[in-house]
Symmetry: C2
DNA sequence: TTGTAAGCGTTATCAG
DNA sequence: CTGATAACGCTTACAA
């Protein structure tokens, strides 16, 4: 076989660059990975060779040699809930800013624990250095603990079982904002339509709602179950409409609030004159509901950023690029709440 | 240094498994990657060793050796548009079913072409074997063509410049469904509120809307520009409200329709009595608008599945797991459309 | 059916 | 500041 021409068919590698620049592969590696101890002139020559050849590091080879993949795993639930995409956008940004890459594993809604484990395994196999749990996984089982022990993980919300965990979004603050707004308006009590009980937020908000009422000496009325969907909100609305003394409702998502208000409207109960409604999320459509929704805004993108940053910080044991975002919820008052009728 | 104990600190590798099972690493590789030519008894022994050691293939090493990463890249735009998450869920599912992994790169909304290139590079560097463009990238430039030439890519929508490309969702069919519905109801013409001109769908739907009108001998009225947001829909609604002869509107997204109907309502024009509205998407809230939206459903998850499957098929040159999903749009008639007043 | 040998392209370590 | 050399853990030949 004749000696191969330098610029052959194969994609250029370090050796090619080194040869062209007249240095060793090690120097190429140093230049490409931005280390400082290279003479500027040498670095320039290497970069020129890199450009000429169109060289780029081979991630797999670099991982194998260095033991680092710079991959972040993300487990999400397959829903079209508005929050999911905003969350991942935030995560992706924080990752990219720190030169990490995000690999996603989706699990079906209401999946069994096995499905989460399987997703986690997929991510680990792929080389994820850390995993972000965008899902309500239970962590109190052997299989999951085994995995989170060897691969650092963060969850977006704060697990109820671990009050000390660094917290990204305070579900208690959300519920408190909503309930106190209603109470301060003069309502005697506040009814609550829950989210899907599968999710941690649901139980946390519910507990907070109860707590705030009790602090004010009010006995919480019966819970009205929901599952995040507008349909479940509609059903809850029919329930509420049948309770004449209900004048204020805290609904766990904007989407459910749309359904709820429709049911109320159909039953001839006016919002906010007969019933005040406050929900959670502040999706883009919230101000286009009729009436416009009073809601507690969740800064999803910031939450995603915060989760990723927290994980990366843990991974590197040092500071990261970018400020830690503000993830405080905020009450947005619009037209769906008012003082109760005399 | 004393000889190391077999089960030492390092994560177990093929050598460890081979030693424990009393076979060569090659046999371990064969068993683990599911090749058939291994005696069942041997395979069993190997699997036992794998389980005992908790061994899993090192993806980077496997990639380096085989030259395959089984990574699919996905470029998405950082928006919380409902479609994005549904799309990626579909992609992720199809990928997982074919043992591929999805890596996401997000670019800002309205990003420059450079941002797309940069995202593409990130994905390539990561080892993506193919890239799904969930974004309206222009492909008519050198830099992009260079990349799509070496890394197979699919886009979710059909580029207007390439009518022969296998098509995932037919924007013409969507517009036709909407416009003909309105015309068949007896409206003399149909006004159109566009999406963000940055997106291909926008121009495609707009062209289709024009075409259908012209086919029926109707001169298209002036375009009303939008940008997907409910706010832009609201502005469009004010425009429409000021045009007494406008009785039918085709709005390019449900979210804009919410804004539009709110503006119409405020202007005292009733939907559907004065103005009929049909939009596109069929988001979960569409039936909870007031009135409930007549809309053209887009099966986003199926679209994502289809895009991924198409790419994987191309990559493997063979058939893939799972039927090719049906991505036909469908008209959902609800309460926002009616015959025009006499 | 199983094993041996030779890389894959990079980074770490240690010399110079 | 730069270079030689040895891993990293796996798969693809090829041989037995």
């Amino acid at each position: 076989m004749p000696p191969r021409h330098p610029s052959d068919d194969h994609t250029p590698n370090q050796v090619d660059v080194a040869r062209l620049a007249g240095v060793s592969t090690q120097t190429v590696s140093r230049v490409v990975s931005g280390q400082q101890n290279v003479r500027p002139e040498t670095a320039r020559r290497v970069m020129a060779a890199v450009d000429e050849l169109g060289y780029r590091v081979h991630a797999a080879a670099a991982s194998l040699a260095s033991g680092r993949t710079r991959i972040l795993g993300l487990i999400v639930v397959s829903t079209d809930r508005y929050s999911t995409s905003a969350l991942s956008v935030g995560i992706e940004h924080a990752a990219a800013a720190n030169r990490y890459t995000v690999t996603t594993a989706a699990v079906p809604d209401h999946a069994s624990n096995d499905a989460f484990i399987e997703a986690f395994d997929r991510l680990e196999r792929q080389g994820a250095e850390g995993v972000i749990l965008g899902v309500p996984v239970a962590l109190d089982n052997k299989a999951m603990q085994l995995r989170t022990a060897r691969t650092p993980s963060t969850r977006v919300e704060r697990p109820s079982t671990d009050a000390d965990a660094p917290l990204i979004v305070d579900q208690y603050a959300i519920a408190r904002l909503a309930v106190e707004h209603l109470l301060d308006l003069g309502h005697r009590t506040v009814w609550h339509v829950t989210g899907d009980p599968f999710w941690l937020e649901t139980t946390q908000r519910q507990a907070a709602w109860e707590q705030v009422l009790i602090e004010r000496g009010i006995t919480p009325p019966p819970l009205i179950p929901g599952d995040w969907t507008p349909e479940s909100g509609y059903r809850a609305g029919r329930t509420i409409a049948a309770i004449p003394e209900a004048t204020a409702v805290f609904v766990s998502s904007d989407e459910m609030a749309f359904g709820l208000m429709r049911a109320l409207h159909e039953a001839g109960r006016s919002v906010p004159d007969d019933v005040s409604v406050v929900s959670v999320d502040d999706i883009a459509l919230a101000s286009y509901a009729s009436p416009a929704l009073t809601t507690v805004r969740q800064p999803f993108e910031e939450m995603g950023r915060a989760a990723a940053l927290r994980l990366i910080t843990h991974l590197e044991g040092t500071e990261t690029e970018g400020e830690l975002p503000d993830t405080h919820p905020e009450l947005i008052v619009r037209a769906s709440t008012a003082a109760p009728r005399k």
